[in-house]
């Protein structure tokens, strides 16, 4: 083994009941480099990293770390050997303080006695945050900070172990541009000053080209190849990942835009958003941009009746409507694909079919009982229309990849034949292939005359998909830009509260 390399994995195999997740994967990481691990959803990236972190154990394969054979039983072993990780699903303990989360598993105890030294932990956490330029109070409860901040805490925690290899599994999925820049600084600092290697997993190609030195690609549990970043361009990277060439972003065609279908007037919800007004026209895609925490989700939740607003009016086709509960919204032809698949989307233990029919079971009743033939027909049509990859519709949704889960959720709402479709971060955490399919689908729906509201934190997505862009800042509408005028700079300016 060359002592250039901090880690070498050879011929790693891992299977789960019914799935062969890794089929002989190799991976070599150079010391002090940032190494991108790329692949579609379900390619096996997280599985490979979880093996390094002691969460999974491979059936076969060899791992050399810092020149020594490496095999760990649990995360604590991995940390002790010098590997730390930010897991893909950031999962803090909401009932503990930020400092306690950072020190979880390595609590500082007072000399002699075994009692916790809370003060010292807060102090050290503060020092760590200062060092990384993170502005979070270490003594507040984890449940009180935003998702973005929780992500930063997870990053800080992983860095705090002083490991030789830090694994970051989609660390930016909940971050906005500002925080991503901060993360870049942290990574550069690790690489250049401390000579620490970083494995970086992301579905956002821009990030790869900004921060990574080398790239390895997995596809379907197999190792496809590695190279240094200079030898890649986007097209080559995508074709390695998906096995064919394609565009990263689908560019929506101009659709015929009709009359105003939905109008929201002066909607407010205390401490969340204030006096939000906007219009949505038939066949239009309204992009909603803003920084994390701007209140976009809350506006849509209020519109949908999930978290009713304190005040404001909603008009559909010019008529005033009362929406107190989601069922009211559904009846008015509104559909809502939420941003958090796990929390507010899927019913993990139910089949794809059951997941699809949930909002409008009424339509599948025959004599009071469910009509399994009709359910099957409708779901089958939908499955073919948007190409959901699954052996059968009886499959439990939890067994699908993220992209396919997202498609099932979109199908769920399309089956209600909505006029207005709200999509909140429809492609978060979804690979390039699936993303482009979802974009194409949005385009087609608009063409069919559906009206779509799309919240997205990804600038290119907003720019390529929207007919009109509404920008929010701290719970207020800070401006609207039409498709032709829209630029990244203008959106960012509005999102950070500057006037145009």
């Amino acid at each position: 083994m060359s002592n250039e390399n901090v880690l070498e994995m050879r011929n790693v195999h891992k299977s789960f009941p019914g799935v062969k997740a890794l089929k002989g994967v190799d991976l070599t990481i150079k010391k002090g480099s940032v190494h991108a691990l790329m692949g579609e959803n379900g390619a096996g990236k997280s599985t490979l990293m979880k093996i390094l972190y002691g969460i999974f154990h491979p059936e076969e394969g060899e791992v050399i770390f810092k020149g020594q054979p490496y095999s760990v039983k649990s995360p604590i072993d991995a940390i002790n050997r010098g590997i730390s990780m930010i897991p893909q699903e950031i999962s803090p303990c909401p009932n503990l303080t930020v400092a306690s989360n950072v020190f979880l598993g390595k609590e500082i105890t007072a000399n002699g006695v075994k009692l916790l030294n809370q003060k010292q932990m807060v102090k050290e956490t503060q020092a760590l945050f200062d060092d990384l330029g993170i502005d979070i109070d270490p003594s507040v409860m984890m449940s009180e900070i935003s998702i973005a901040n929780a992500q930063l805490v997870a990053i800080a925690t992983a860095v705090s172990y002083n490991a030789d290899l830090v694994i970051m599994d989609e660390p930016t999925s909940a971050l906005t541009e500002k925080e991503i820049d901060k993360l870049y600084d942290i990574i550069r600092d690790l690489r250049d000053k401390k000579k620490i290697a970083v494995v970086y997993i992301s579905h956002k190609l821009d990030e790869i080209f900004t921060i990574c030195d080398e790239v390895s690609v997995l596809r379907d549990g197999e190792y496809i190849g590695s190279d240094s970043i200079e030898n890649f361009d986007k097209d080559r990277l995508i074709s390695m990942m998906v096995g064919r060439t394609m565009d990263e972003f689908f560019h929506k065609e101009e659709a015929v835009i009709g009359d105003v279908l939905l109008e929201v007037k002066d909607m407010s919800l205390s401490r969340k958003f204030k006096n939000v007004s906007f219009q949505l026209k038939q066949g239009e895609v309204l992009g909603v941009a803003g920084l994390m925490g701007a209140g976009r989700t809350e506006v849509m939740e209020a519109l949908f009746g999930y978290r009713p607003a304190d005040s404001g009016e909603i008009f559909i086709k010019g008529e005033k409507v009362e929406i107190k509960e989601p069922i009211d919204a559904i009846k008015h032809g509104i559909a809502f694909v939420t941003e958090d698949r796990k929390l507010t989307g899927i019913f993990p233990e139910l089949s794809i079919k059951d997941n699809m029919i949930m909002p409008d079971i009424e339509n599948y009743l025959k004599g009071g009982l469910l009509d399994s033939k009709k359910i099957k027909e409708n779901c089958q049509t939908q499955r073919e229309a948007i190409a959901i990859k699954t052996p059968t519709l009886e499959q439990l949704i939890k067994n699908l990849s993220g992209g396919n889960q997202q498609k099932v959720l979109i199908s769920r709402w399309l089956l209600t034949t909505p006029e207005i479709l709200i999509l909140d971060e429809p492609t978060r955490g979804i690979d390039v292939g699936a993303k482009s399919e979802i974009h194409r689908l949005i385009g087609e729906l608009a063409k069919m005359g559906k009206s779509i509201i799309m919240i997205s934190s990804e600038m290119p997505e907003i720019l390529s998909m929207s007919d009109r862009i509404m920008v929010m800042h701290e719970g207020k509408c800070s401006g609207e830009i039409s498709r032709k005028d829209a630029t990244q700079e203008k959106i960012l300016a509005l999102a950070t509260g500057e006037q145009l």
Binding site: V19, I327, E349, G433
Partner: protein
């Protein structure tokens, strides 16, 4: 996408995964019929099913509750209360020897009792759905209060002297099969259809699987929960009526710890205490396992103290080797 090669060849593992508990049940029956020849007689089998019917019907309601991530601790006490209420209304004649005696057509007595069960269930459901009290506590409160109410109603006495037309429900037969078994079958079919073939049933699973998502899908979570507990209360009332008819008396001491047997049956039948998973046919198997176990140990003359120890072990072991078991809650 390539990752969807989910292999589904029918392996032994997959079979055990799905029907492990049935295998356990059959194994238990085989062992018992070997060690005790009386076990496999038609008469004994009828006996076992009739005995199981009471807990079995309660456990179907518990299955609904548990699927929504709830629980029902009040069923035992509700049986006590409803048993004295129905007994007091099914009297042969107004009599001083009984603490309470009301004479009315037994159909009314039964309807009133079923309604009472549903109302008590509705209270449980409202406390947990609207009051946001954990169902464990809401039904614990009901458990305590209903037991007291039962004793208060009769001043702690049993109520006998029941009409024959009423006791027929517990002791009679129809084409050779005891009425309680018929009722058990009807309730099982009804509950199965309700749970797996109706909108309501799907909503029950949805709430248990992901309450937030259920709300987004336009499901009225509160109303559904209330219905679930009301249905559980209704089934408990059915059970109480059967018990009263079978023993020809109502008694405020009835139903002691039935809720635990019902919950054990449900969980042995593979319903996950973390919600979202469960089925009525398996719940029936779960209840039969407990029933067969009790019957078998009596047939074998196992010492009463050892019976409890064995039962404790079997509960744990059945759940331990059931491959479908859910992760720790």
């Amino acid at each position: 996408m390539a990752q969807q090669k989910i292999i589904s060849r029918p392996s032994l593992g997959a079979f055990m995964n799905k029907y492990g508990i049935v295998v356990i049940f059959i194994g238990l029956c085989v062992i018992l019929s070997i060690v005790s020849p009386a076990f496999l007689s038609i008469r004994n089998i009828t006996n076992v099913i009739r005995q199981v019917s009471i807990i079995g019907i309660v456990s179907m309601g518990v299955t609904f509750c548990i699927i929504t991530t709830g629980i029902d601790l009040s069923s035992g006490s509700m049986i006590a209360l409803i048993s004295v209420v129905v007994a007091s209304m099914s009297q042969n004649a107004v009599s001083d020897s009984q603490p309470i005696s009301i004479v009315m057509p037994i159909l009314f007595a039964i309807l009133i009792s079923l309604a009472l069960g549903a109302i008590l269930g509705t209270i449980n459901g409202s406390l947990t759905a609207f009051g946001k009290i954990p169902p464990f506590i809401a039904t614990l409160g009901m458990m305590t209060a209903a037991k007291g109410a039962a004793a208060l109603y009769t001043q702690g006495r049993p109520v006998g002297n029941l009409k024959d037309a009423f006791t027929f429900i517990g002791t009679g037969s129809f084409i050779g099969i005891p009425i309680p078994i018929w009722i058990y079958i009807v309730m099982a079919v009804l509950s199965h259809i309700l749970l797996s073939k109706t909108k309501f049933g799907r909503h029950v699973f949805a709430i248990g699987g992901n309450e937030q998502a259920a709300r987004i899908c336009g499901i009225n979570v509160e109303k559904t929960l209330v219905k679930v507990y009301a249905y559980a209360g209704f089934l408990t009332a059915v059970s109480a009526i059967m018990l009263t008819a079978r023993t020809s008396a109502g008694n405020p001491t009835y139903g002691l710890a039935y809720e635990l047997d019902a919950i054990a049956s449900t969980v042995i039948g593979g319903t996950s205490l973390s919600g979202g998973i469960g089925s009525i046919p398996f719940c029936v198997i779960g209840a039969l396992i407990i029933g067969v176990l009790n019957n078998g140990m009596d047939l074998l003359g196992v010492n009463a103290y050892w019976q409890q120890i064995v039962k404790g072990f079997i509960i744990v072991i059945a759940v331990l080797i059931d491959a479908r078991k859910q992760k720790r809650k």
